[in-house]
Amino acid sequence: MYPRAFHYHRAGSLQEASAILSEFGDEAKLLAGGQSLIPLMKLRYANPNHLVDLNFISGTSYIIKEENGTLRFGALTRHAEIEHSTVAAKIPIIHDCAAGIADVQVRNRGTIGGSLAEADPSGDWATVLMTLETEVRCQKSKGDRWVRLADFIKDAYTTALARDELVSEVVVKIPPQGSGGAYLAFKRSAPVYPTASAAVQLTMDGEVCKDVAIALGCVGLTAIKAKDTEKALRGQQVTQKTMATAVEAARAVAEPQSDMRGSADYKRTLVGSLVKRAIDIAVRRARGERIEAGHIYA
């Protein structure tokens, strides 16, 4: 299958890429890892007249731990680099996500910046990063600005990026000591998007859950922050009773649609179970247990 013919631009810098975007407007698309865009172009759902290749820009792929307790990810950092990074492993929920996105081949190409900029409702990164303090750096040909992830993702396939802006960096605050997180995503097989997913990051103070952030993936037009689920746990001991209330609240806030991955009812039930298991793993990880988590598939 061939995409429609297009003009190819190899950007030498992110600023240059932005300048090409402002020149060609809606006729141009950025090519990062290409693992969503290229299939869409082959199926002719996306038909850009101009393709701007970011892959030859140096210095756009890195994971750096800063003194101020943040991790900085270059926009073109591949999922596989994050999967194998000992620096990124400092935030286990990030490793859970990176190590299970699609399959080895896709993780070798796909990028964190591309995933956020595409804003696919089933993408993994937005769901996970929603539970951490995450900011997205939006670059123009002249200057840049920082946008909180919650404000960056506007709707399905829609972000706060202006026509001539692109994601240059993603910065995540490292959770404090005593914090634990887990990301669980259920999918039918490795290469596909999950049917539903749940991300939980919580901080324990003894038996009490001091603070918690929970996001649900694939069950709405964007990742959903499960605020009532968080409320059911915050300041409480994690008991069977608080857990039941939390899970019920997660099911209630989900807005799944029936599709080839399952019926809306099925996804609502599934996301509840994933939240329950993710809370359990997050609590145990907060206590220092080493537990594997991530994508679940047959």
């Binding site: 299958m1 290229i38 082959k42 399959d103 596909v192």
Partner: protein, 162 residues
Amino acid sequence: MPDVIEKVAIKLTVNGKPHSLTVEPRMLLVELIREALDLTGTHVGCDTTYCGACTVLMNGAAVKSCTVFAVQADGSQITTVEGLEKDGQLHPIQKAFGDAYGLQCGYCTPGLMLSTAQLLSQNKQPSEKEMRKAIAGNTCRCTGYQNILKAIQMAAQSMKGA
């Protein structure tokens, strides 16, 4: 639809051999390999980034060559299944897939062998779980995966000293 599309000159090394070509930007890496270089061991299966039949190594990393444009491979080292054997001798991975009956129709086999090559280049003694994860992006529709796993294990054994 643009009127005149400029072709792009690229240089890449495939199985150790340098090539200079001029390609249409929309040409996929798999088409370059199969059509321009006539290396038909790399297969096209689903053509939608699912099945992994088109897997090749790009600078040592397994990629689905139906989901990479040829222009993106400019300056890269590509290894296809034809590049596995050396001096007429099958690569230990190829030998193991034969000896362990890790194939029936063979359509998925080149892709599986290159995913195996990436795995064993990073992990000399993979566990069964690691092997399963490494080939999760390669779909086989005839044998089931038991013999493929045996083949990977056999290849790991015979490459231990290498």
